[in-house]
């Protein structure tokens, strides 16, 4: 997979007479009618529930070593088998969900906050501020994402918190670019110019008018970045720079299971499946959001929904 991603291509709404309201409820309805997106939403919701109630759900603690019980195949007592130290793989996969989600949320939250702020200011004020901020982002963007994260960790030292910071820094420029592009479009729209003519302050302008209307591509980018952040955490932990043992991390479990692939496939397969599922879900969700939030795609969707059922069934079956 290419580490550096292009900002998601969502055409900013060129002209809008007034900020849309109630758009998101319709969007949500549309979203849930698409099977892949529904699936993705359910998976993400499921993982969130798992992460919230992990200690209740997991049969054992994350580091209950019992060397006598090592490398047991999946079966009664241990649905996902046990690892090389006799720990229950199911419990570690469940407890690892919180780590993955937490890293995803905090890292993306960081890039969202910093990136959107930078993009908003750069796009709205332009001139030298734009040049300085965006060149700074270009410098960060020039590094392959994982390499940059490894460099940051080399400075901060390994650990979950530092992995979050590293991943957050890595994905900041993506958000800055997406936001700036959207703001450049919104800035010129009629309602913004109208607001400016009646003397609305800059702060109110940015937060009330510009940001909400530049939001759709940012929302899509957030979902896609969550997938990348989960993957990046797994990758960093795989090489030993992310979550430290014995804390459960899917990437680390994968790395530990690697040397036992021939004897104990379950050590690597289950955490691997968990990563695939969550990353796939975030990506599908991103796709769904893009379809719904993009005006052109959306009219097509709404049109399709208005069509007779026969047509839709055929579409699903195809």
């Amino acid at each position: 997979m290419s580490a550096a991603q292009d900002p998601v291509a969502v055409p900013a709404r060129r002209i809008s007479v007034r900020p849309a309201r109630g758009r998101f409820t319709t969007a949500l309805k549309l979203l849930l009618t698409s099977p892949p997106t529904l699936f993705a939403t359910l998976v993400v919701a499921g993982v969130v529930v798992l992460a919230l109630f992990d200690e209740l759900i997991a049969p054992t603690g994350y580091n209950e070593v019992d060397v006598q019980q090592r490398l047991l195949p999946p079966g009664q007592g241990h649905w996902f088998g046990t690892d090389d130290l006799g720990r229950d793989v199911l419990s570690r996969v469940v407890l690892g969900a919180a780590v993955s989600l937490q890293v995803g949320a905090v890292a993306v939250g960081f890039s969202l906050l910093v990136g959107v702020t930078a993009g908003l200011l750069a796009g709205y004020y332009g001139r030298w501020l734009d040049t300085v901020l965006m060149r700074l982002m270009d410098v960060l963007f020039a590094f392959p994402a994982i390499l940059l994260a490894i460099a940051v960790i080399a400075i901060l030292g390994p650990g979950t918190t530092n992995a979050m910071i590293a991943i957050g820094i890595t994905y900041t420029p993506v958000f800055a670019r997406v936001t700036r592009a959207a703001v450049l479009g919104v800035k010129e729209s009629v309602f913004v110019r109208a607001s400016r003519s009646v003397g609305v302050s800059d702060a109110r302008m940015l937060l009330r008018h510009v940001l909400p209307n530049a939001a759709p591509p940012i929302i899509v980018q957030t979902s896609v970045s969550l997938a990348f952040a989960v993957l990046a955490e797994a990758a960093l932990s795989f090489v030993g720079l992310g979550t430290q043992p014995p804390a459960p991390s899917w990437g680390r479990m994968l790395s530990e299971g690697r040397s036992y692939l021939e004897d104990a496939w379950w050590m690597a397969v289950f955490p691997g499946l968990a990563i695939v599922l969550l990353v796939l879900a975030f990506n599908l969700l991103g796709d769904g959001l893009r379809d719904v939030l993009d005006p052109q795609q959306r009219s097509a969707l709404e049109a399709a929904r208005a069509k007779p059922r026969r047509r839709r069934r055929a579409g699903v079956g195809a």
Binding site: N63, E64, P245, P246, D263
Partner: protein, 510 residues
Amino acid sequence: MRRRTVLSSLAATPIVAAGCSTGDGVDTGDTGQGGGEGGGEFVAAISAQPDQFDPHKTTAYASFQVLENVYDTLVVPGAEDQVMQPSLATDWTTSEDGLTWTFTLRDDVTFHDGSTFDADDVVFSYDRIIDQQLSNAYRFATVTDVRAQDPRTVVITVSEPTPALLAQIGGFKGMAILPSGVDEASLTTQAVGTGPFRLESTSASEVSLSRFDDYWGEASTLDGMTFRFLTEPAAAMTALTSGQVQWTDNVPTQDVSDLAEDDQVELGQVASVDYWYLAMNHAKAPFDNRDVRRAIATAVDRSAVTEAARFDAARPNQTAIPEDSYWHHDYAPFSTDVDEAKRLLEGAGVTTPITMGLMVTSEYPETVTAAQVLASQLEPLGVQVEIQTEDFATWLDRQGRGDFDAFMLGWLGNIDPFDYYDGQHRTGGSNNFHGYSSPVTDDLLNRAAVATDREERKDLYDQAAEQIVDDVSYLYLYNPDVVQAWTPGLTGYTIRPDKAVNFEEVELPS
């Protein structure tokens, strides 16, 4: 600092062919190339490519696996007991005051380039190590002079009695004798030794050796041999069972017990001279408190740690020196007891929970594995182990600066008890990174280092070991096994505790 990487040595004295009790001697069929003439070709699979062939400069185990069969030293450790035996030197005497060592050399030795071996070669080789301050120069720390008295006699003068001198000059092929005046630059890729095989050619996938017909010992029955590099243990095992190679040390530890039952391979397993341990920082509270360290030593279940880290290929030990060594001291004061450990901790006046940062390195994955087991064992005691995985360079740097609560690592390739205990536990010792200081231990170590009587030395080191274990200077965990596998019916090979691989007397199954 220099961690002693894996060292090796060669017994040039006749080895009793052991370790090859071949049940029914199952024939694996084609044993590779050669076949027809003489004893045929012998192929050994090793896990890495040698970095270079200069014995005085390399520290890579892969290089020493090859050089073991190419070079000789003045003395060599015995195959099983690791006691120093004659090799290029036939005998030696020590002066009354212990300050002068006189070695008598063999007179029938020829180098691979045809030149004759004499005392000048010894002086040249040792001076090279000392003058160029090569990695093994520290082994000559007490040596003040190396002199050729006559072509058959070398005299080594030391500044204080050095009973460990033989182990220092013969422990492994890093102390090999080169012909004087050899082109030093060429040694990286070529070898001019006195051993049973000469280095023929090297490539990215293998190293070829041929028999040296003018070898001073009994010439090999093999025409030559090949070291092939197979990184993946599974690949090495497949090559062995299919007859492409006849020997390998790249055995997956989790399969050891299965392989012992497998009659397609002969499995050799012997306790190594390595040990793995945990060290706590004696300069940092609460680990400066002896009772806290003893509490932790009491809570640890060494056999579980051992089994997790090495499966069946290691033996728990509460001291450093493995059972098979002459210097082993049977002393195991700790038995796993969490309640007793809690009492010790309470008695020390420490409030739990304590957090202990445990520094490990992915360079040695068994430290990461063992650390997780230690974390689970210390949790009931109220010690929260926070595992810190570092790359080895950072790890060494933090160790050097004393920036740690505790760390886990191993010392490899030890022969003399001096190697096992002195630098690590003497106050201010060169490897005493954890800051242990005990006048009792210092006194015992000082006396042992200069004691010339073997019994007396052992007794002093035994006492020192007890003091070290009681004070939990190191929390000793286990001695790993050397595990190697070969074709059933292969004779003349002895698996050795120091991991030296010597194929001098190997004969292929007929």
